[in-house]
């Protein structure tokens, strides 16, 4: 648990340009903040209101290349990072700015081998303009030789265009109508390659509920995965989030109501994807060489596990079942059922439906108990776009909301919620186990009342009866 509250040493900060991927825009700033936190990099970035997510470029201030590389080693939405030598609204402005920062690039002039590139996200620069643009940098007077493959310095000019208008036909029309142009030296790439490495279709074991790689990486970053930390996925399923947390260094734990899915056993056809291999989570962990960080897998109902104490986890990272592709279930008798008197111990445990609002609140309660102060809960909440309001996200007085990022599917969306247990909650997690279970039962009873359609019940959240809404294609029901 690194302490970020060191008094800031007066180190002069340098400007760096981060080039981001242009999808999953609402995940960009939360990921950037999380990776800065987990790598202990003091990052100065523009405030949220001034960040234009439509632009792939962001200027930040860092202490130096080492910090930039640390960010690059974690960020999956980061394409590349450059030390910024100049920027401007036109090339003329840019050249003035770059010449003004000569002291920072002068050391490469005498003998560094170099390559000079032009990048233009959202646009392609016409060939005819390349030579002319690059000639404009003549004042750099680089004396080393040109090496396009493996240069000592890769100098890049980035033209930042607004998103392509729908009816733009001719490339040349838009050319040079950029918002800004930047020039800098490439320091590192981001982690886009991880997406290929953890591609679900290439995984040794996966199912139809496996979380896609890019999102799993984002979740692991939001949960601040790292060496020496302990992370838990209470709805592990095929283990997607576990692999990524382990990849970044955490020890991982998983549990699931269905042990067969974790073991990769034959069973219901929908558990294992027909193209996947055998061996369950273990085999996939071994194929990624991460098995040494997998502590244990348990077949368990997350709300009915007797944890001896709380405050043990650094992160809970999960994608709970919404009841659509995976039934949301928990232990318990169906309403009105009675336990038959001569039940043998090896009978199948009773399973009841688990309504999503209950699941979300239970998850929050469990997280509050099990996390250490500063620990993070990262989970997906499905929402119906027409009905969603920010207050739908469950709250807890001991946890604060860090991020709420949306992945929009049209009529519905899923939101990645990041919550952090407040740091002044030391000692509270040792609350009596009985009290905690009683509190959870009370909360559950409240929700059950609401579901029975009592008129006094609070306005229902958009993820209420999510499964029903999903199969009704989200057409509003006349009441």
């Amino acid at each position: 648990m690194a302490d970020n509250s060191k008094p800031s040493e007066a180190v002069p900060l340098l400007p760096y340009l981060i080039l981001f991927s242009q999808s999953l825009l609402s995940y960009r700033l939360p990921e950037l903040d999380s990776i800065a936190l987990v790598t202990n990099v003091p990052l100065v970035r523009p405030p949220d209101e001034l960040c234009n997510l439509q632009s792939a470029c962001m200027v930040v201030h860092l202490r130096g290349d080492e910090d930039a590389r640390k960010l690059g080693s974690r960020g999956v939405l980061v394409k590349s990072i450059y030390e910024l030598y100049g920027l401007g609204k036109t090339y003329d402005e840019l050249h003035i700015d770059v010449q003004a920062s000569r002291s920072r690039w002068a050391k490469y002039v005498p003998d560094a081998s170099y390559a000079l590139d032009i990048l233009a996200p959202n646009h392609s620069v016409p060939r005819e303009r390349w030579a002319e643009t690059l000639k404009g940098f003549g004042y750099l007077s680089l004396s080393g030789r040109v090496d396009l493959k493996n240069p000592d310095v890769r100098l890049v000019t980035v033209e930042d265009y607004p998103p392509k208008a729908a009816n733009v036909g001719v490339k040349a029309f838009n050319d040079l109508r950029f918002r800004n142009v930047f020039f800098g030296r490439k320091v590192c790439d981001g982690q886009r390659d991880l997406i290929k490495k953890f591609d679900v279709k290439k995984r040794r074991y996966f199912g139809n509920t496996s979380m896609e790689a890019e999102i799993s990486i984002l979740m692991a970053n939001q949960a601040l995965a790292g060496p020496g930390k302990l992370h838990y996925d209470p709805f592990a399923g095929t283990g997607s989030m576990l692999y990524l947390s382990a990849h970044f260094g955490s020890y991982v734990f998983g549990s699931d109501l269905d042990g067969r899915q974790m073991r990769g056993q034959a069973g219901a056809d929908r558990i294992k994807h027909p193209k996947a291999g055998d061996g369950g989570i273990s085999a996939a962990a071994e194929s990624y060489r991460l098995q040494n960080r997998f502590i244990d897998l348990l077949t368990a109902d997350v709300t009915r596990v007797g944890w001896r104490r709380g405050g043990i986890l650094d992160g809970i990272i999960t994608d709970p079942p919404y009841g659509v592709r995976a039934g949301a279930k928990r232990l318990g008798l169906a309403p009105g059922a009675v336990v038959p008197p001569n039940l043998k111990p090896t009978s199948f445990p009773p399973i009841q439906d688990y309504a999503l609002p209950s699941l979300a609140s239970d998850l929050l309660l469990t997280a509050f108990h099990l996390l250490r102060p500063g620990g993070r809960l990262v989970y997906f909440l499905p929402t119906v776009n027409d009905e969603y309001q920010p207050t739908d996200v469950p709250e807890h007085p001991g946890m604060r909301l860090v991020a709420n990022s949306i992945q929009d599917f049209g009529k519905w969306a899923r939101r990645l919620i990041t919550m952090e247990k407040k740091r002044d909650m030391e000692g509270v997690e040792e609350a009596d186990e009985e009290e905690l279970i009683a509190a959870m039962r009370r909360l559950k009873a409240d929700w059950e009342e609401a579901e029975m359609g009592k008129p006094e019940a609070a306005r229902s959240v958009s993820h209420q009866d999510f499964r029903v809404k999903y199969f009704n294609r989200f057409t509003p029901v006349a009441r």
């Binding site: 060496p227 042990g259 997998f294 502590i295 897998l297 009915r304 039940l343």
Partner: protein, 185 residues
């Protein structure tokens, strides 16, 4: 890398417990300076070892689990769960001293020791030692023993039984089943 067929382990449980020493799985991480020859040789070696299910329950998990059956909570006797008919294995885990130091105060030491004794292991002392902040050789040695006990000793098959209500939590292929029956919920 093609999957090699997994050899199912033969269980030869004696009346109560059996420690079966198995060869450690060799997973060679590529070192930045390893040559192509090294990697090839490591790859060859590795294909001789058969991948198998991750063998767990590790003692760190066992140290955190109590019986959640209705009535057991608050009885004072639902922890630790007692091991029975155990098939033990040593399974490599990544060594992280910082993690161990952090976790040390959250451990229930008496429970850890009683489980170790149940499994026939005497590597750790009865009384909880002091973990000082300095990093000397003795500390390092102790942490290595703690690491082995907490993270590398694992129960592949067997049972965990509640001392209070007698509920049996079976362990199959290293995965314990913590689900409860209808009347226990």
């Amino acid at each position: 890398m093609k999957a090699v067929a997994r050899r199912k382990s033969k269980s030869r449980t004696l009346s109560n417990l059996r420690i079966s020493p198995r060869p450690r799985n060799l997973y060679v991480a590529a070192h930045p300076r390893s040559s192509n020859a090294d990697l090839f040789f490591a790859f060859l070696l590795q294909s001789l070892f058969v991948p198998r299910y991750l063998s767990m329950v590790r003692l760190i998990t066992h140290n955190l689990l109590t019986c959640a059956v209705k009535g057991c909570v608050g009885s004072g006797r639902n922890f630790p769960l007692q091991f029975k008919n155990v098939q033990l294995e040593i399974r490599e885990a990544e060594f992280n001293p910082a993690f161990l130091r952090n976790f040390f105060n959250k451990l229930d030491w008496p429970a850890l020791i009683s489980s170790l004794r149940e499994l026939g292991d005497t590597s750790l002392p009865d009384t909880r030692p002091e973990l000082s902040a300095d990093e000397n050789e003795a500390q390092e040695e102790f942490l290595k023993l703690l690491h082995r006990a907490l993270l590398e000793l694992s129960v592949k098959e067997g049972e965990m039984v509640c001392q209070n209500c007698g509920h049996v939590y079976p362990i199959r292929d290293g995965i314990p089943n913590m689900l409860l029956a209808a009347h226990e919920v």
